[in-house]
């Protein structure tokens, strides 16, 4: 069996990754999914977190925030609402976002919908996680 598969990661704005990879971990809505070559066809919604894949021995990270993943034999397509490569993440900015979101969660008087604030918090956390891993 082939020891690699095609990985495409796209956001509405651009195609981020198109590579042959050996192993993939994605943040599904109900927990992380590990994908190896030869995985059965699968469809899932994406949650918030970091995505990692190995390609040619090196490991890469991306932050993902919502979207879908389609797994086909020999091919994986990730449709992310928001995605950023770890090396492109501005970690200081992400930290600031996280802090702001935390304040909004703690302090309902700010008038921000807690669900929105929690969402923003998770997104910022995912970016920090991914950036720290690289």
């Amino acid at each position: 069996m082939a020891d690699s598969f095609d990985l495409e990661i796209a956001t509405p704005e651009r195609l981020l990754v198109k590579e042959q990879v050996n192993e993939l971990q994605i943040p599904g809505k109900d927990g992380y999914l590990g994908i190896l070559p030869g995985h059965a066809a699968l469809l899932s919604e994406l949650g918030t977190g970091f995505l990692s894949y190995t390609c040619g021995g090196s490991k890469r990270y991306l932050s993902i925030h919502g979207g879908f993943v389609e797994v086909l034999p020999g091919q994986v397509r990730v449709l992310a609402n928001v995605a950023e490569k770890a090396e492109e993440i501005d970690i200081e900015h992400a930290r600031k976002d996280l802090q702001q979101a935390q304040e909004q969660v703690m302090n309902p008087a700010l008038g921000v919908d807690p669900a929105v604030a929690l969402d923003a918090m998770a997104a910022a956390q995912a970016r920090i996680d991914a950036a720290e891993k690289k």
Partner: protein, 286 residues
């Protein structure tokens, strides 16, 4: 007969205009390239989304237990939201006029529907505002830099109205970028969503129930339709402006040529006249 100075002044003014149109053409060409890149960059996502949607829809169709999604619900088209995407600036040939004509044609073709307009772009807004057409909303300055979130917000609002049955259909009218010299006016219905059909759907393992996935895929799909239309329109606008400015530049060139010829004729005529005067003056003195 105009004097030499007048013609020279005229030529200078046409030259100035030509320089401006030439510069505008270059700017549009550069912007067009960027806009085109963005259209191309958004394509993989759009194509993937469509494929996933087809497969999920097929899985849901097999499942009898669940009712149709509200965004798929068909109703008689009594209240229609018509989203017009025009440009913010003129000097782009028939680009803006075409979109406006498209709206007028739509209204004529749908006499039984009451049409509300959502206007994206200054030119369309100015036109319909002046005529007192029923305007639901207007957005200006979006096309200069198309941001997904901004466009998605417009789409979400339309979907909200659709769910609440305030409107029975949503149509988009925009220019599609065919090539640098050709734009095509498109009229497409985004709501209710027409699910694309496929013969052999893949048998997936669903991490979430298909119906639930359809529920989150559909809004995404509609947002993407809006986004794509806006990107296409932005590219088409630059292309139209580029072509228009190119034509204007060559027209100015022609005009300069004609005026120069005319100027030389006038100059020669005046020289001839002077010579005749001198000669006839000398003849009279003899």
């Amino acid at each position: 007969m105009p004097s030499l100075i007048d013609i020279r002044r005229r030529i200078r003014s046409v030259k100035n205009t030509q320089q401006i149109t030439k510069a505008m053409k270059m700017v549009s060409a550069a912007k067009l390239r960027r806009a085109q890149d963005r259209v191309i960059a958004s394509r993989p996502y759009g194509a993937l989304l469509r494929k996933v949607l087809v497969n999920v829809a097929a899985a849901v169709a097999g499942d009898q237990t669940m009712g149709a999604h509200p965004l798929l619900a068909r109703r008689e088209e009594r209240n229609v939201l018509l989203v017009l995407i025009s440009g913010d600036k003129g000097l782009a040939g028939a680009f803006n006029a075409n979109t406006i004509k498209g709206v007028q044609r739509f209204v004529v073709e749908h006499p039984q529907a009451s049409v509300q307009l959502e206007l994206i772009g200054r030119k369309g807004r100015d036109f319909f505002r002046k005529r007192g057409a029923p305007i639901h909303a207007e957005h200006i300055g979006l096309a200069a830099k198309v941001v997904y979130e901004d466009v998605a917000a417009i789409a979400r609002q339309a979907m909200e109205m659709y769910r609440n049955e305030e409107i029975d259909a949503v149509y988009l009218i925009y220019n599609e970028f065919k090539s640098v010299v050709a734009q095509k006016l498109m009229q497409s219905r985004v709501l209710p969503v027409d699910l694309p059909q496929e013969q052999a759907p893949v048998d997936y393992i669903f991490e979430q129930p298909p119906a639930e996935m359809l529920g989150s895929l559909l809004p995404r799909y509609v947002e993407m339709e809006f986004y794509r239309a806006l990107l296409e329109s932005a590219a088409a606008e630059h292309a139209a402006r580029m072509t228009a400015m190119d034509a204007a530049t060559s027209n100015a060139g022609e005009m300069i040529e004609k005026l120069t010829l005319y100027m030389n004729r006038v100059r020669q005529a005046s020289i001839t006249k002077e010579i005749i005067e001198v000669v006839s003056g000398a003849a009279a003195a003899e």
